[in-house]
Point group: C2
Chain length 637, copies 2
Amino acid sequence: MNIRFVLEDGREVHEAASAGEMLLAVARRAGVPIDAPCAGNGTCGKCRVKVAAGEVAGEVSKHLPKEAYDEGYRLACQSEIKSDLVVDVPASAFAYQNQIRVADFSSPGAKEAFDAMRARVTEGEYAEAGGYAVVQATLSEPSLDDPQADRERLTGAAAAALGVEPGAVRVSLAAQRKLPVVLRDCGFAPYLLVKDGLILDVAPSEAEAAPLGLAVDIGTTTVSAVLVDLLTNEILAAASAGNAQIRYGADVIGRLVESAKPGGLARLHEAVTRECIGPLAGKLCEEAAAEPGRIVRTAIAGNTTMAHLFLGVYGNHLRLEPYVPAFFSLPALRGADVGIGIHPDAEVLLAPNIGSYVGGDITAGVFASGIAEKDSLSLFIDLGTNGELVFGGSDFLMACACSAGPAFEGGEISCGMRATDGAITSLTIDEQTLAPSYEIIGQGGQKPAGLCGSGLIDVICELFRCGAIGANGKFLMKSDRIITDEWGLTRYVVAHPEDSASGAEIYINDADIDNFIRAKGSIFSAIRTMLASMDMDADMIEDVYLAGGIGSGIDVAHAIGIGMLPAIDPARYHYIGNTSLAGAYAMLASGKAAARVQGIADGMTYIELSAFPGYMDEFIAACFLPHTDSKLFPGGI
Amino acid sequence: MNIRFVLEDGREVHEAASAGEMLLAVARRAGVPIDAPCAGNGTCGKCRVKVAAGEVAGEVSKHLPKEAYDEGYRLACQSEIKSDLVVDVPASAFAYQNQIRVADFSSPGAKEAFDAMRARVTEGEYAEAGGYAVVQATLSEPSLDDPQADRERLTGAAAAALGVEPGAVRVSLAAQRKLPVVLRDCGFAPYLLVKDGLILDVAPSEAEAAPLGLAVDIGTTTVSAVLVDLLTNEILAAASAGNAQIRYGADVIGRLVESAKPGGLARLHEAVTRECIGPLAGKLCEEAAAEPGRIVRTAIAGNTTMAHLFLGVYGNHLRLEPYVPAFFSLPALRGADVGIGIHPDAEVLLAPNIGSYVGGDITAGVFASGIAEKDSLSLFIDLGTNGELVFGGSDFLMACACSAGPAFEGGEISCGMRATDGAITSLTIDEQTLAPSYEIIGQGGQKPAGLCGSGLIDVICELFRCGAIGANGKFLMKSDRIITDEWGLTRYVVAHPEDSASGAEIYINDADIDNFIRAKGSIFSAIRTMLASMDMDADMIEDVYLAGGIGSGIDVAHAIGIGMLPAIDPARYHYIGNTSLAGAYAMLASGKAAARVQGIADGMTYIELSAFPGYMDEFIAACFLPHTDSKLFPGGI
């Protein structure tokens, strides 16, 4: 049978299929991007597509209301193919994968944190010259009497320009490939990019020979990157994109399960390299009007699972007792090893992992946060698809992970989304009318598309404050905005269809609230357990640094209000942005910083929370608003 | 329009085409292998296919007789598409590309030469240990109390096994990728392949960790390779295949022209790497029951054009004055650079070029021939698609190339073919009846498929001896075997259709004879010119070493008889086989030999024949049977 997928940009993809196949499986085979954060179990509703012609077997469900069903909408993961099909794939079906946005160090808090760190690696104690030189060489022109080959002609002239012996100069294959044409384009006076005697690049102009660096944060949900001029360490361009692996599952466990299937490791490896980081690097270079082949150094930070999948290393043992990674550090990688289209001889630095669930995003992030250099005690919290905590200072550092799930990046929440354009990032609710007021990420004037992590905190906190939900997260009242559907699910309507970007209602239901409460409970109980393991409590924390995908919009008072973060003075909380990306930038800019990240990893103690007997009790107690022990939150909301 | 290609093995390839497109162009786009040694000019007739359904515009021609036309045969390069088509592609249409045959050092002469050289690199002055070690490491098993990562666990144990510091041990990415599964397969006691502290491979058994090497001769027409055990230097398997680039032209000039077109360099690069050497390495490894990833060292020898195209380096300047290569030598290449599926960290050695038309096949070949170590004067002749000559000994070496064209490998000859199964390799003609007797390469009992280089020498020499052709190569008589066709071409029938393997007549016509005479004239005049440039003549040559694709079947007396080789004692001629491949093997087996090949290249003087005023006169004089100056061939035939 012939399946024709029509994407919103008009692009069409045809794929042959057999009757009885699931539509999502066929889309995956055809490379059609359809999100499936629940890994195709029918429990997230993100894979909704419209069958414009033909027939599939599939039913109305919690995630597919009757009105949508009647309009032809179906969940791709629950639709068995019955005939030839024409399938419209709306942009909402691949929002996680597709939406590219400028990664920023510009949001409040993040900018100051980044600038302070940048000063450390470019002027301060970690400043270090990169060793790159751009020099012009002047070659004699070949003739019938002087038919010397281009390379040998070049190495002689380069040695003279560098003041070394010709034997000490090597030519990378990438430079060799460009050499014949470049020499003749520039009258045999090319500019050379040289490091340690290796000619990495040849170009007709000085500007085109300048070395570029790429820093990448591989998040489970979002991949962010910056392009850097390695001579000045200036950021030339920044961007982020959804991690294309999301079509194989929302969290690291789902990805690891998929990776252990036949061909699965290759699929996940390709998804993050060729389909995600490669195009992202291409886009950054396009902005900077440069070829990706000019990227001669890259630093990558990601959690342990992401690091394994990025390198195509089998990682399934990460999720199986005794939870052992295939590597902590992997030095001396080259561009040709990693398949993202950069210079084949590029140095590839990978931020080191320290355990199965505390990876390079955290070791790089701790460097960026600066807590490892402080005498006082700090708590570092990275809230992305996974939650990781680091506590300590220059004397010691302890780290643990909590299985918060993807709720903080909008995953497994009906109308959840990443903190990208259209996301509701903060919200208040009128106590009388229950009508919301909200702020949206974007240029202004547009309608909301969904709720990101900080918006979710606000809506739950506000519903609780208004008495619309109880301590267990269940709805306590009905109104024109609090509606129970035929499945028994009660929802709060944030935006009516006519007020939303997609024309579909934006809401949060009691299942979403329950998911989010478990996520926040996981964070809070992890903090309590880690501190308790050292006979410490939250009062001893001087500063709390919040990092990660939850975004700068987070209202700390609200997060304390729902019992997600300890009830200490909100002024001691600092949002410091994407520290994984900032740390990767530091490694890119300075070999000393990269060595320090390795030193931080070597000195960090990894705690396995599940090994602590009290952890599960702490977790259960934290799965209330704000907590079963209200003394922990004396201030109320 | 829809074009369906049906290959002889039943495989089908569908490709969309527009009316007016040429069938050969569509086949190329679809990746259907169809030979076109004349680069699609309609002058070789090798691209003959059968249109089983549909219509093309195309006519009867010299290379497509009426009978074949009426049966539906067409030349793909001359057929304009008019409708949907079903096209049968017979094996004969890709004989150059497809036929794989064991590359041998076993033919008379070649075996002795190879064995003598092998002794030099394995026991004699060039013998050298490869530096590879296979050791077993014993690791502790991980547990919840000892969750050390696999890599860090390995480097500790490997350092202990090797007696070095853990910091001195590195793990290649390829080994890292296998590590998690191998460790658990072998009870944490893996065998390691180590060189210079780098763990190249991990395997559950000692045998599976042994290092493999690949030596490759990239000929313009034929690519040959041997797989070698690098611990013992034993040859484990040998094979050859047609160079898949042949569909873009028979000789280096055609390839260079194609490479300068948009996308052309990538096409030629892919054709020789992914389509030819990659599968060849795969086949050799299959024979040896090993993975291609175990190939950790490779040595490649080819002419200058082949070296450029193999590495994807723009080579068009080779054919443009002042004829300058992009490189002579290119050291320090890695497996990941070359795209042939071997270990990414494999050492890649490329035999050095010395000029635009004297390449690594000759520098490696001269090492293999041993002439560079001799006090006496030798002439080394490599007769493949190109002809190259080296004259000298331990005191000096001079080299030149002659544009002999592909006739010695059967190219641009109506019924010419490579020296593979079915080729007529030697032939005599009865003076009375003009009936031929011939020998065929193969198992015996089969019918001939065509004429290879040595067979062509024989048939021309015999026709001349019998008085059937004159000194200018034109036919002097008619008979039942000497027939003039409607195009005015006269041919000698070597085998009637019923006596040939394909059912098509095997013949040689006056155009073929003319082509071959120009090829042999090119060789002879080059020898004369080179010797004359030093005031020497052929009598001063102690030994002549014949190498290359012309094959061991060459009858030296016949080659002298037609004026191709100097008239010196045939006992001074030695056929020594594929010296390019033998030299590549030497480089693989010994770093000292590789250094010596570079030394030979550095010391060799390259002569541009066209710069000698007398060369063109010499060439014209040599384009007769045997020569205009019969005193040069006092013995007659």
